[in-house]
């Protein structure tokens, strides 16, 4: 599959990159790791006139820093492998490492960047296919048409969010810094996602996700990310569950907890029922109720070929129970936190 023709530029300043991306005449898109983008280009899902390479941007975008007060700061261009191999990340954020190492394959982890992973497009089997196969069907919402092949009659796009890293970072209550032409803001990662299949994040033309900020881990906290897929490598998550919690000092009761699912909605799905865990021991019925709440909220669709939506929904209970068990085990064993 040949790539379509485009021009290429690698600016060395953020201001220049933002300007190039904002100018509508350029019809430009940014490239970080390129692992997802090049596939979209090969499939002619995107046809830019200009690729703006972000790799020459300042060193801070490639940097990892940690301070006990501020927590972890990762540049948007840090590769998944680089983050997963970092000593502090391994010691203090095992749930994040689990998520990083579950992305694609070792090659994709070496090439892909954190910023690129968080900005990855939603997937749908009717959209992510070759031009020849797409010709067989009327264009869907995501292709600029007016129908949805996943849910017949739907007036909106139901492409699914299938990222691995975002659920773990959301569970850790991370924030992201976005820099645009003359603007800079730090927002909770939760607000980065729009739950719109056509446009899954809030980035406007000219804006770049430059930094990820993860708060320092609380004492007696731990988490786990589990991923359902056919093969143990390469595949996107058909379901992913990231559970993180902390226990009260000197007690075995929950102080705070977050549960985020992926692969089952148009954005990473927060399970609000973790609020009810506060002040309670994580055992028996409490875990069952949480698993049941997650099961009710998850709505996997026929947006992927593998495994039926029913099976994936059924597995929500299993994965949530297991993620809670592993997270609890990590804290009670003393773990690394």
């Amino acid at each position: 599959m040949k790539l379509p023709p485009f021009e290429y530029v690698a600016p060395n300043s953020l201001t220049k990159a933002c300007e190039l991306l904002r100018d509508k005449k350029n019809k430009a898109i940014p490239i970080a790791g390129g692992t997802v983008l090049l596939m979209a280009l090969k499939n002619r899902l995107k046809t830019p006139n200009l690729l703006v390479d972000l790799h020459n941007l300042p060193k801070s975008l490639h940097h990892i820093a940690y301070s006990p007060k501020q927590g972890l700061t990762l540049g948007g261009l840090v590769s998944l492998r680089q983050a997963a191999n970092h000593t502090v990340v391994r010691d203090k954020y095992p749930i994040f490492v689990q998520a990083l190492l579950s992305v694609g394959s070792p090659q994709l982890q070496a090439m892909g960047t954190l910023g690129g992973n968080l900005c990855q497009d939603n997937l749908c089997v009717y959209y992510n296919r070759s031009p020849m196969l797409r010709q067989a069907l009327e264009p869907c919402h995501k292709l600029g048409g007016k129908i949805c092949h996943t849910i017949s009659g739907s007036k909106t796009c139901w492409a699914t969010y299938c990222g691995d890293v975002a659920p773990a970072l959301l569970a850790l209550q991370a924030k992201v810094k976005i820099i645009g032409p003359g603007s800079e803001k730090v927002i909770p990662l939760q607000k980065f996602y729009t739950a719109d299949g056509k446009k899954p994040n809030i980035l406007k033309p000219g804006e770049i996700l430059t930094e990820i900020q993860v708060p320092p881990p609380r004492p007696r906290s731990g988490g786990a990310y589990l991923k359902l897929r056919i093969r143990k490598a390469i595949d996107y998550p058909l379901l992913g569950a990231a559970f993180w919690h902390s226990l009260r000092n000197g007690e075995a009761v929950c102080e705070e907890a977050t549960l985020v699912l992926t692969g089952v909605e148009r954005a990473p799905l927060f399970i609000q029922e973790t609020e009810t865990l506060k002040g309670r021991r994580l055992e028996g019925k409490i875990i069952e109720d949480l698993a049941e709440a997650a099961y009710r909220r998850a709505h996997p669709l026929h947006t992927v070929c593998e495994l039926t939506p029913k099976y994936r929904k059924d597995m929500v209970r299993v994965y949530v129970r297991e993620a809670v068990r592993l997270a609890l085990q990590q804290v009670l064993k003393g773990g690394t936190l």
Partner: protein, 172 residues
């Protein structure tokens, strides 16, 4: 518009004019005629196009050649040195880890990248390192065994490519 890039491929400096929409795989196979790097799925799945770039295994089908300026690239053609097989290649032959051979360049380079960073990996680490390389002849166990043998130092004597490996010898 074409751009000039300078790469170091298998130890040799190469200067090339590339179009922005050429992948590293296109350049390796079509311009440099290094056809040992295979074009498999061409969509970041099979790992047949794996090469080592600055010490990391990468998929050349998903890497723009124009972004490789100044990079050090190792393809399968550069694995054997001075006409002597690399221990990983020797081990692959001895363990019968090669069937049709299409995935072999990819996983050999994935394994080389692993052993350079981690000279004594566990079997699980070896499995993970080649998990991005699909083998349709289903020879995974022999692939893992052959890499572990090198890590454990069971294969260390380089041999000339003309030497007949033990597993090819037959009683006539």
């Amino acid at each position: 518009m074409k751009k000039v890039v300078t790469l170091r491929v298998n130890g040799e400096q190469v200067e090339l004019e590339v179009r922005p929409n050429q992948t590293l795989l296109d350049v390796l196979r079509d311009d440099l005629e290094l056809t040992g790097t295979k074009r498999g799925c061409d969509s970041a799945v099979c790992g047949a196009c794996t090469v080592i770039m600055d010490g990391e295994p990468v998929l050349s089908c998903m890497t723009l050649a124009v972004r490789c300026h100044g990079k050090n690239i190792l393809t399968i053609e550069g694995l054997a040195e001075d006409g002597k097989l690399h221990p990983l290649q020797k081990s692959a032959i001895e363990h019968g880890a090669v069937q049709c051979g299409f995935c072999t360049p990819g996983w050999l380079l994935s394994a080389k990248a692993l052993l350079e960073n981690n000279p004594s990996p566990t079997p699980e680490e070896v499995q993970t390192s080649v998990s991005g390389n699909l083998c349709r002849c289903t020879g995974y166990q022999k692939i893992v065994d052959s890499i572990l043998a090198v890590a454990e130092g069971k294969v260390h004597k380089p041999s000339k490519p003309s030497e007949e490996p033990a597993c090819w010898k037959r009683d006539v």
